[in-house]
Symmetry: D2
Subunit: 139 residues, 4 copies
């Protein structure tokens, strides 16, 4: 299994007057990496929504170890951390070009059906995620 990574170039608009990328930008980058990872596994989040599903963020967290600057190339790795009946935790690591870790974070997502009620992950999707990330526990 190769890691699923996305490349981000820090935008000027994402910096703040501290001269570094604002901490809220990392949640947006995690979202980009999540979209990319799911697409690579054959599950376009766009398509999931068009089919009536939704995966809203119900929890998130991030530890910042170093700063990112305008025009820096950031590599964000996304991986499935845990799969539960109606929830999925995705873990992220953002690194700079030299591999130094900038931030580590996670998001927990509910899986909702068209009536916005929690529902089990579609079995094929759960299987594909577990197959790719065998360390993600299940229940």
């Amino acid at each position: 299994m190769a890691p699923h990574t996305s490349e981000i170039i820090v935008r000027y608009a994402e910096t703040d007057q501290m001269g570094v990328a604002h901490h809220a930008a990392y949640l947006v980058w995690f979202e980009v990496a999540r979209t990319d990872m799911l697409r690579q596994l054959g599950y376009s989040y766009r398509k999931l929504e068009e089919e009536g599903f939704a995966m809203p963020v119900v929890e998130s967290g991030c530890r910042h170890l170093a700063s990112a600057r305008y025009d820096d190339h950031i590599v964000v790795e996304a991986r499935i951390g845990e799969i539960r009946r109606t929830r999925v935790r995705i873990d992220y690591t953002a690194r700079d070009e030299d591999g130094k870790t900038l931030a580590e974070g996670f998001t927990v997502h509910a899986f909702l059906n068209g009536e916005k009620r929690p529902q089990r992950l579609p079995p094929d999707m759960a299987a594909a995620l577990r197959n790719e990330f065998p360390e993600s526990s299940s229940s």
Copy 2:
């Protein structure tokens, strides 16, 4: 007619590494001022959308005369600039606490019905806007 104004306090996240509010923030502030102005005239944009209408931005422009800094109190005035059959132009002036003009801008909005097709502004709304802003020409 009193001017319709909204007070904005510049957020840290809105600054960039130049140490001032990023220029894209002004479009967001104009949107806040637009929402407030329409609400003051009795037309909640939220309600308009719930009734199936939409007023997407089809054009915008902004001239920046001075910078705004984190924690600055900005006053944004919004006024109807021109009313046409299916379009409305709204003009904005952003000033600092001392009344110095920071930026002048405008947005042009299409008026769309539930099928996302251009439609005439509801007559009562057009009348209310013209009544409040007699200088806005009509066609």
Copy 3:
């Protein structure tokens, strides 16, 4: 001690295509509430930065219990959760107009001097924060 709260009106730009405020917006609202709370205690964060200090976010987390919609009035309470030598944890609760909790979160801040090195919180500031939030432990 009265709670320190900030009122936020959800901006259109803060919504996403799920029709609710994007989860990253909460970090920005927490930042607004943090700025307000510190100002109420006599410590303008703007002034702290002008004096050469910085309080970058080194960790953050947020649990989302309910959604916020465009034009909703949100009340964000900020309180000092823990004071340590060179770090401060601030806790937040975002509620809707009826008092229903939408989100609970926290940010941990390093306290840096002009050379961007960790330093002890200024004693008067630490005392003021502890005085206002006696439950915040210390070390």
Copy 4:
């Protein structure tokens, strides 16, 4: 001269409850395209700032012809529109994957030195820009 283009994938956070990319996102995309175009011409904006220069936006405008949706691939072309003594206008066209124009816009930038005063563009930079975009008039 090949056109200078940047590819953007619309982020979820950039959508709003209308289900399309928020109009302010275009200014951010233009900024990405501007950074890329200058870099392709040998002028890293990051480096320009490190050398003490700044090119703040003093005016901007955008016409929206069609909408962009989450996960859409957008191609933004940037080109020098006009070079004056201390100002540069950059023009942008955002197109979807099929070449359909979504938006046309521009930004005007002042060129400032380390004291934040207007200064002439460095002659080599002005020459390089004019060489690449011969249609940009000069004064």
